[in-house]
């Protein structure tokens, strides 16, 4: 296990390097001179502009810029935004909000996705199975921003159950609707995944053997069917945790949540290259680490998988 872990961590390095290089290249190929933009309507003072360029390494060749960025990133020094704020401080302010949102969405989709998926897989053909299937198909086909508006209109404006927007320092209650909206599509996928897994496992020989041994229905379901059905679901959930943080952009935009997605979108529009690269680097790390954790979880769920 330790050897496998080490190999996986070593394999992560080229992926993280490649991703940051790709994003860095994309961002710095952006047209428009950010230094000129800092002067706003005032005429550009070339001497000051040159000084700013030197300060942000913008005068050096691209590949040198990239390595300087990497060197600083290793010491968690992501530079400053054009407004003079340290990037790491801005991220530090926004990250907890997004993590809170993503974790709430994650719990929502994991709990409701598994419960509904397993129920409808165990009771295939019943009327509630059809209802669950139709609702999950609808959730997949409606884009997140439409789900968000529907939620805002009914839960927020018409029935006044939940707050319409979250604002600066959102609490649990403020984030409840955004989290449900963010997790809704993945929940629908989990329902479908869990349903097809459970319903195909239920017909396998080992389930019949377990029943023939005289095991009770409950323990057959929980000890055999569920344990085997959960492996693909766990894979999906693990990959989704990273995707949720990136996907939070739309949800944060609709509900006015000042998290990572909101920050990234604003930075891209403003051409804050440092910020964009730093955020994407962090998101990539989160994504890669989540994938690693999923692989570790496999071994716990399926004793046949043993890492040498």
């Amino acid at each position: 296990m330790g050897k496998y872990l080490l190999r996986r961590i070593l394999q992560m390095i080229p992926v993280v390097l490649g991703t940051t290089l790709l994003v860095y290249a994309l961002v710095f190929a952006l047209p428009g001179d950010p230094v000129k933009a800092m002067f706003g309507d005032k005429p550009v003072n070339e001497a000051v502009a040159a000084q700013i360029r030197a300060e942000y390494n913008l005068d050096k060749p691209f590949i040198v810029q990239y390595f300087l960025f990497l060197k600083n990133a290793l010491t968690l020094n992501f530079g400053e935004t054009f407004a003079g704020q340290p990037v790491i401080a801005e991220i530090g302010r926004a990250f907890p909000v997004t993590i809170k949102l993503a974790l709430m969405a994650f719990c929502f989709e994991a709990i409701f996705g598994c419960v509904f998926g397993v129920i409808s897989g165990l009771k295939k053909g019943k009327w509630y199975d059809s209802v669950i299937l139709i609702v999950s198909l609808l959730l997949i086909s409606v884009p997140t921003f439409v789900t968000g508006f529907v939620g805002q209109y009914f839960l927020g404006v018409k029935w006044r159950i939940l707050p319409v927007t979250a604002g600066a320092n959102p609490g649990f209650f403020d984030l409840l609707m955004p989290a449900m909206v963010l997790g809704s599509v993945s929940m629908a996928y989990i329902i479908r995944l869990a349903r097809s897994e459970v319903s195909s496992n239920i017909a396998l020989d080992y389930v019949r053997t377990a029943r023939a041994k005289g095991m009770s229905n409950t323990s057959v379901t929980f000890r055999h069917i569920l344990r085997n059905s959960m492996i693909p679901v766990v894979t999906y959930l693990g990959q989704d945790l990273g995707a949720l943080m990136g996907g939070a952009m739309i949800t944060e935009q609709i509900f006015n949540i000042h998290g990572i997605g909101f920050l990234t979108y604003q930075s891209i529009l403003k051409g804050e290259a440092n910020m964009v690269v730093s955020v994407v680097t962090l998101l990539t790390l989160v994504f890669v680490v989540c994938n690693l954790l999923v692989d570790m979880l496999y071994a716990a769920l399926d004793p046949r998988i043993r890492y040498a």
């Binding site: 080229p14 992926v15 993280v16 490649g18 991703t19 790709l22 994003v23 994309l26 961002v27 190929a29 952006l30 047209p31 299937l133 198909l137 609808l138 997949i140 086909s141 409606v142 884009p143 997140t144 921003f145 439409v146 508006f149 529907v150 805002q152 209109y153 404006v157 479908r192 349903r195 097809s196 195909s200 990273g242 995707a243 943080m245 990136g246 996907g247 952009m249 739309i250 935009q253 609709i254 990234t264 979108y265 891209i268 529009l269 964009v276 994407v280 998101l283 990539t284 994504f287 890669v288």
Partner: protein, 317 residues
């Protein structure tokens, strides 16, 4: 061969006469009829699937609307007068008017073409590029596979929306729908490549491939005549399913104001424009959303049906 009904010395036992054995039913199978291939088998399963019939009717209708929007409305979607701003529905304008006074029904009808073309074009590019790269990686193996797989990993680690926004920001002045198509393809080819690689890897070492090598066919001929056709099923499945998701992505990008230009009639753009009046006039947002959802739903149902037909192990219903 002796007749089985005659008993030779030392074989005294009962042998049922041929008429009494059920072997005849086997004999009645028409051997001259062509054997059913995987594709004709799949087509038979598909035709019996109500999910397929419903989604096929919907998709044909959607394609018809996209090709001939003029059949459904005579109103110009770009003709807007502020006199009609947020007017309710009246004869000839069944969905009413949006904030700019444009006819919502006409815009929904004309938006079909935009969504559908982005979805179909992105899917075609993704399938072509993804299959090619995945097949090369799986077929060649060795360092080529290692390099291509790492590139796939790198693209996989970038959230699609984030990457698309970064690239599209560069081309704000370009007004063609191709920029959205190419960006979706740029971040979408990886999943197809991964699946194509897996499919090629698993059919690479099967007997038919060894047999055709033994008969003297070149590796390239093997790849295109034998391995690729046998790896097509999973690629077709993912292509159908992702078509819907590309339509959603296009709408999302247009919604963020960074996808298609506002001069192009698109559902995403219309939904984005309607969000500010959500609290007072929700219907303006409702119609393009429903059109978008029905279109995506049709393609997802089609994907499910195709998956059931081509991959009997993963029946969803």
């Amino acid at each position: 061969m002796t007749d089985i009904n005659t008993t030779l010395p030392g074989q005294e036992r009962y042998v049922a006469p041929l008429e009494e054995t059920p072997l005849q039913t086997v004999d009645t199978v028409d051997e001259s009829a062509p054997a059913t291939s995987m594709w004709s088998d799949a087509w038979r399963t598909l035709r019996r699937n109500p999910l397929f019939i419903i989604s096929a009717i919907l998709i044909v209708f959607i394609i018809f609307v996209a090709l001939f929007p003029g059949v459904f409305t005579k109103t110009d979607p770009n003709y807007c007068t502020l006199d009609d701003s947020l007017e309710p529905a009246r004869p000839g304008h069944p969905f009413g008017f949006d904030m700019q006074g444009c006819d919502v029904y006409a815009r929904v009808v004309y938006g079909t073409r935009t969504s559908l073309s982005v979805g179909i074009l992105s899917t075609l590019i993704v399938v072509a590029v993804g299959t090619l790269i995945g097949a090369i990686a799986g077929f060649c193996g060795g360092w080529i596979d290692a390099v291509l797989s790492r590139i796939v990993d790198i693209f996989m680690a970038i959230p699609m929306l984030l990457g698309a926004i970064v690239v599209l920001q560069m081309f704000r002045t370009v007004t063609s729908i191709w920029k959205v198509v190419l960006v979706l393809a740029l971040f979408g080819w990886v999943s197809t490549a991964r699946i194509a690689r897996g499919a090629v890897l698993s059919s690479k070492n099967l007997e038919f491939n060894t047999a055709s090598t033994a008969l003297g066919s070149t590796p390239m001929r093997n790849l295109f005549r034998h391995i690729l056709p046998n790896s097509l099923a999973p690629i077709i499945v993912i292509a159908t399913t992702s078509l819907g998701s590309y339509i959603v992505s296009e709408a999302t990008l247009s919604f963020l104001g960074i996808g298609l230009p506002s001069t192009t009639v698109s559902w995403g753009g219309d939904i984005s424009n309607a969000q500010s009046i959500l609290r007072t006039d929700p219907m303006v947002l409702f119609y393009p959303s429903v059109a978008l959802a029905v279109t995506v739903l049709a393609f997802i149902m089609m994907g499910d049906a195709v998956k059931d037909a081509l991959d009997p192990k993963s029946r969803t219903a």
